[in-house]
């Protein structure tokens, strides 16, 4: 389905609508703007209806497909509430550039105002971080016209939410276009990118590389790439803190950018790593038993990977502890790597003096570090992790928290979706 100026169309209308798109966008830019408040109040009504269950029929299968838990969804929903959006706007865009005129000798001070980039093309991914409709809301907040290319598995949830949004606030109709074209339809994507002033791409390196090819050299590409997260433990961690970390691992199934893949210990002593690994395995196993089993394919893949690792142990020096679908791999190296997922993490030594050396080469991939350490060491260790490239340091159990107003991978999206114009 296609959403075009508030109307739904069959996919076969694509060639005609694609042909009209640029003219419609130019007409909108020439004649209309939207104010953030219009977007915010429409989102408020929408969030209310979602919470009331009005769209459960479409949303529930979507959440199941993308392994989004009720807690994660509730957190995502809070992002759409007026209070959250106003706070985001104030944080990311305020104080406005109009408040800081630039003195110009011999003339009146130069006035500045923020304008949208114009047209944004969103190439969406399906995970919760990239809830496609939310990406469009961010574009709208900055005042842009938004063209959304849906991810292949989105069976209508984003389309529904955005259509409703435009129905609640008809002024948004001219600012939202949704196309369900596959990534292989290069003709359409190239045309969308040509019309756009910025391409917002969610996904892996391949998606980002493809977006750079689509966009002309003068088009801004804003990549929200894939990230890895880990926990860092220095000193004695309490059973309570480790249980919270285990809960986070089991809840997210380690599928999110912010999910803990493994635990680095501030030590060089493999004996300490072994002991910690055995202790955490007990905690993780107990926690895992409290959660519904992950998808069978995910569990089977983890089992295969860990059984392979067990067979290779003689070469790698790794030890795999497995039980009840959970697992801990005790490894002597300090490499940041993806875990086997689905409740299976690694435990490795990483003394603090090597944090920067080991993690810096991966700085483009780093997201959250869940830090457990004595309070007096927290500032120094946090700063060290930040200097290595981590963009978020949290308590170990909070690694996947979603709070309104948080930066995204170390950046403020609304700033990237707009530009400053100077008058004078």
């Amino acid at each position: 389905m296609i959403l075009f100026q508030g109307q739904l169309y069959e996919d076969r209308e694509l060639p005609r609508l694609r042909g009209e798109l640029e003219a419609r966008c130019l007409e909108t830019i020439a004649s209309r703007t939207i104010a953030p408040e219009q977007v915010i109040s429409a989102c408020g009504v929408l969030a209310e209806r979602v919470r009331r269950g009005d769209y459960d029929q479409v949303l529930r299968p979507f959440l199941a497909d993308f392994h989004i838990s009720p807690g994660q969804f509730e957190a995502a929903l809070r992002l759409l509430e007026p209070g959250s959006l106003r706070r985001k706007l104030a944080l990311e865009l305020g104080p406005g550039p109009e408040d800081t005129p630039l003195p110009c000798p011999g003339r009146a001070p130069i006035q500045r105002r923020r304008f949208p980039l114009g047209v944004l093309l969103h190439i969406a991914a399906g995970n919760v971080d990239g809830l496609p409709a939310y990406s469009v809301v961010e574009g709208l907040l900055a005042g842009n016209i938004n063209i959304l290319k849906l991810p292949s598995m989105d069976r209508g949830a984003s389309l529904l939410l955005l259509r409703e949004l435009a129905a609640i606030e008809p002024a948004l109709k001219d600012f939202v276009y949704v196309f369900d074209v596959p990534s292989s339809d290069l003709a359409s994507l190239t045309e969308f990118a040509r019309i756009a002033g910025g391409v917002v791409v969610w996904g892996g390196d391949e998606a980002v590389r493809a977006a750079r090819t689509l966009a002309g050299p003068d088009t801004r590409v804003i990549p929200w790439g894939h990230k890895l997260s880990f926990a860092y433990v220095s000193g004695e961690a309490s059973d309570g803190d480790l249980a919270a970390l285990a809960k986070h691992i089991c809840e997210t199934r380690q599928l999110l950018c912010s999910s803990c893949q493994g635990i680095f210990l501030d030590t060089e002593d493999m004996g300490a790593v072994e002991a910690f690994g055995e202790r955490f395995f007990q905690i993780l196993q107990a926690e895992n038993a409290r959660h519904a089993p992950a998808d069978m394919g995910l569990r089977a893949k983890a089992s295969l990977q860990l059984w392979t690792e067990a067979l290779e142990a003689v070469e790698t020096g790794r030890r795999v502890l497995r039980g009840g679908g959970a697992g801990v791999t005790i490894a002597p190296d300090s490499r940041l790597e993806l875990s086997a997922l689905a409740g299976n993490c690694w435990v490795k030594p990483l003394p603090r003096r090597r944090i920067v050396h080991v993690l810096s080469p991966e700085k483009g991939r780093l997201q959250t570090a869940g830090l457990l350490c004595p309070p007096e060491e927290r500032p120094a260790l946090s700063a060290l992790l930040a200097r290595a490239g981590v963009v978020r340091v949290t308590w170990a159990g909070d690694m996947s928290r979603t709070l309104p107003g948080e930066a995204h991978d170390g950046l403020y999206p609304l700033q990237l979706y707009s530009r400053i114009v100077e008058f004078g």
Partner: protein, 373 residues
């Protein structure tokens, strides 16, 4: 390998009850040889808690350590010197990493005995020449994927008058050329020589769908067959039902459903599974299939889904006794098919892993730079 030789010469390829004892004896014989000849395998058996000289009867085969295909992709296991390997093959390389396997003369002879018995049983052997349409790679010296080898090898079940390839080597790369194939199919429909297509189901589907969209409806000469191998995995996401492919075969080429035959196998488990008239893969005497629990890897009862573990004593040159694939499947009990073959049949449910794009963490890991520890 006298037990294995006897097993692979067994007359009825679906006589599982009659071969249970022989199968176990052949596995035990092969396992003893592998442990003597391949140090890594001996070590793997030790990790799995299988003591040397342990008795392996028909009820003990699950104790042989199932080696994941992932392990074969990372390690080359050999039980014979390289110069005794007559054929080397590599898997088609899911994710870019390939398993490299090699077969000695004895293993190949057992493979040939099996292929002939299976082809005869499924009516694939014919003295009548035919035109082959291979929906796969044109063989080149440099191309060692198992498909290009088996694709070519298949063309000897019936004498080949011609071979047309879908993936043709041109200007230093393989090009998909379905147009040429279409033209030659139209020409073949006017003659009396039967045709056989061989290839991935996805390519077969693409070819047929394209022809139907262009309004082409042919009637191939009697005795024509559509044969497919290489799995349905390329179909994931396309949601194409097998029944749609059979419909297309009838509509576009005039070939009936019973003349659509599918094969299944893997380089690490070179057993030829062939579909029965009801499109089920029955287990032949040359192998046994265990389904294992996705968490514990313990065998589960028939009818329960899990990881597919394939067992065969065919190969001497490598320890391919028990190979755990990346596939999830179900073993349906004997007597549930109704095609006339009594034995159990294997249904492949799909690959392990997360469905594409749901995980961003996994995507990030693919590109980690691999820092030294």
């Amino acid at each position: 390998m006298k037990h294995a030789d006897a097993l692979f010469r067994w007359k009825d390829p679906y006589d599982l009850p009659g071969t249970n004892a022989l199968f176990a004896a052949a596995m035990a014989e092969n396992a003893a040889f592998q442990r003597r000849s391949c140090r890594d395998y001996d070590h793997i058996c030790a990790i799995a808690g299988l003591e040397r000289g342990a008795k392996l009867g028909p009820g003990d085969l699950h104790r042989l350590p199932p080696i994941p295909t992932l392990y074969f992709k990372r390690h080359t296991l050999r039980s014979m010197p390289e110069n005794r390997l007559l054929i080397r093959a590599a898997s088609s390389g899911t994710g870019g990493v390939k398993s490299r396997v090699g077969f000695d003369a004895g293993s190949l002879r057992r493979g040939l005995d099996m292929s002939l018995t299976m082809a005869r049983r499924h009516g694939l052997l014919s003295v009548k020449p035919c035109h082959y349409f291979i929906l796969g790679y044109q063989p080149r010296r440099e191309n060692d994927t198992a498909f290009s080898k088996t694709g070519f090898g298949f063309t000897f079940f019936a004498p080949a008058l011609s071979r047309t390839y879908a993936l043709v080597w041109q200007n230093g790369g393989y090009q998909l050329d379905l147009k040429a194939m279409e033209k030659r199919l139209i020409r073949a429909a006017k003659g009396t020589v039967p045709i056989r297509t061989i290839g991935f189901p996805s390519y077969t589907y693409l070819l047929l769908r394209g022809m139907e969209e262009r309004g082409i409806h042919l009637r191939m000469p009697a005795g024509s067959l559509i044969t497919m191998g290489g799995g349905w995995k390329q179909f994931e996401g396309q949601k194409v039902e097998k029944s749609e492919l059979y419909r297309l075969a009838r509509s576009v080429l005039g070939i009936g459903e019973a003349q659509c035959v599918e094969f299944f196998g893997a380089v690490e488990h070179p057993i030829l599974y062939t579909t029965c008239p009801r499109h089920h893969f029955h287990i032949p005497v040359y192998s046994r299939v265990l389904i294992r629990d996705p968490d514990t890897l313990e065998p589960v009862p028939e009818g329960t889904p899990g990881l597919v573990d394939l067992l065969t004593p065919m190969t001497a040159s490598m320890p391919l006794l028990s190979v755990m694939t990346d596939d999830l499947g179900v073993l349906h009990p004997a007597g549930t098919c109704g095609c006339g073959i009594e034995g159990p049949w294997l249904e492949i449910l799909g690959r392990v892993g997360v469905r594409d794009i749901v995980t961003c963490a996994a995507g990030a890991a693919e590109y980690l730079k691999g820092v030294a520890p």
